[in-house]
Symmetry: C2
Subunit: 262 residues, 2 copies
DNA sequence: CGGTCCATTGATCTGCCTCAATTAACGTGG
DNA sequence: CCACGTTAATTGAGGCAGATCAATGGACCG
């Protein structure tokens, strides 16, 4: 059921695609793939990249170095996410993107993408959907910014769980969470100390298990409740069909070590 | 130099438009205009509006009612801003929009807009630019969320100042800021008490004057410095040309009471 | 004149930060 | 095989920014 190609998988979270559209996506995203080291900057702040970067494998983050000097993460990029789909319109990036793990990155020709958007309206809609969902996630982060640390943390984990789920990177109730507490700290806007303590409290409450980069969520409904999480803002096709309150167990396509090779 | 039509004015912040494009925008945005009371909800959370709302006059806000019950404002909409340009792609709104002042709202036919986007690439780019800038503002709000109250406050005022400036609604160093402290509170994620105290400190420091809904910024550079504000994320055409550190005095088209009739 | 909305102030409390160590895991070179 | 450096997680203690609770004052209005 799940396609091999990550971009196809991601976009089918919006609507089923015609075989022809899928083929276009495969052609587009499977050439020009490069490997990027963990910690290296994929796009610098102020740059104007020529082509469009797609994360094929691994985790990356949008961030800014704030006035006070700290790094502030504004978004996590998972496989299937674009770095800057529409950067062509702007003169320069207003933030940077860094690989948090080793990443496979595909560079798409921006002219080719433009052509496709004009020729395949269904695909154009699907890509627009991706952009809109990104905006929705951002709005949710704004809301999250001023919540209790534990709620914000729980919410973030719920978001990542659902996003990983919709690209088929869940293994039962577990997923690879290759983030250090410092990276979580920069995303949550806390101090490392408090991130650590909050994490421990979530653990003690039995809401999560996190060890060796593997996050398990034994009771998603409970975590969602703790984080005030409602997945409607992710605008998934299956939002209504799925009963989020009772996540099905069992394997979800890719096994947990699907990333470990990256 | 500044066009009468607010949408034209707004979009020319990206690039000059052909007369033909301007005419299209005028035709599109000057019919179907309605008046909305302050405090009334323009679009409900969960709705799927049929046509596209454009704020022609007045202030509005995107907000969510968070899990804890508080209203969280995620964006201020100024004249020339759309409520939901691309909502057609999604099934429903994931947040609501409320008029903060009496507003003039134009409803654009979404089919007509779609047609225009296909036919006038320059216009399509300009509209895409608007959407991208909105995303950039959102990212900046995420960054701002975890700053000292005074810095976040100063930054917000800088943002509003520049945005008002680029649609020609500045009067020298003054602008209409028709927000109650409670609304600022919901945008900054503080308590009303602390918003008030922070505001007072900004006043004492001589960074702003705010009275009767009129905000004056005697020394923009100083306020920008206090807020760690850099306008590059607003991606204005004139970003480089303007010397932000020394805002020119004198009238900027619309007089200060241009809104008072709304 | 009372009601409502908004700004303001005082006092107390707390979630989170900061500073400062300690421990564990891992790799690397001698 | 061990000493050492590095990076990440963890713990303790004290301090502060901002929350909360509770009033008060002013402006506007019917």
């Amino acid at each position: 059921m799940m396609d091999q190609n990550i971009l196809v998988r991601k976009l089918e979270g919006y609507a089923p695609l015609k075989e022809r559209s899928k083929q276009i996506l495969r052609d587009l995203s499977e050439r020009q793939v490069s490997l990027v080291d963990a910690g290296s900057v994929i796009i610098e702040d102020g740059d104007k990249p020529d082509d469009i970067c797609l994360i094929v494998e691994g985790w990356a983050a949008r961030y800014k170095v704030s006035h006070e000097g700290g790094r502030r993460i504004m978004a996590f990029l998972l496989p299937g996410d674009f770095c800057e789909l529409e950067i062509a319109v702007l003169e320069q990036m207003d933030h940077a993107i860094m690989a948090l793990t080793p990443c496979k990155v595909a560079r798409l020709d921006s002219e080719a993408v433009k052509r496709i958007l004009a020729e395949d309206p269904a695909l154009a809609d699907a890509l627009r959907w991706m952009t809109l969902v990104e905006g929705a996630i951002l709005r949710q982060w704004v809301v999250n910014g001023r919540r209790q640390a534990s709620a914000a943390f729980a919410h973030l984990l719920c978001e990542l769980y659902i996003r990983m789920k919709s690209i088929g990177l869940l293994d039962g109730d577990r997923l690879l969470l290759p983030l250090t507490q410092e990276e979580l700290t920069d995303a949550l806007g806390l101090s490392t100390v408090h991130t650590n303590r909050t994490l421990q409290r979530l653990r003690e409450r039995g809401l999560i298990e996190l060890e060796g980069g593997i996050l398990a969520i034994p009771d998603f409904a409970a975590l969602a409740d703790a984080g005030g999480f409602d997945d409607n803002y992710l605008h998934r096709r299956s939002s209504r069909a799925d009963s989020l309150s009772r996540p099905r167990s069992g394997r979800w396509s890719a096994p947990i070590d699907s990333l470990s090779s990256a």
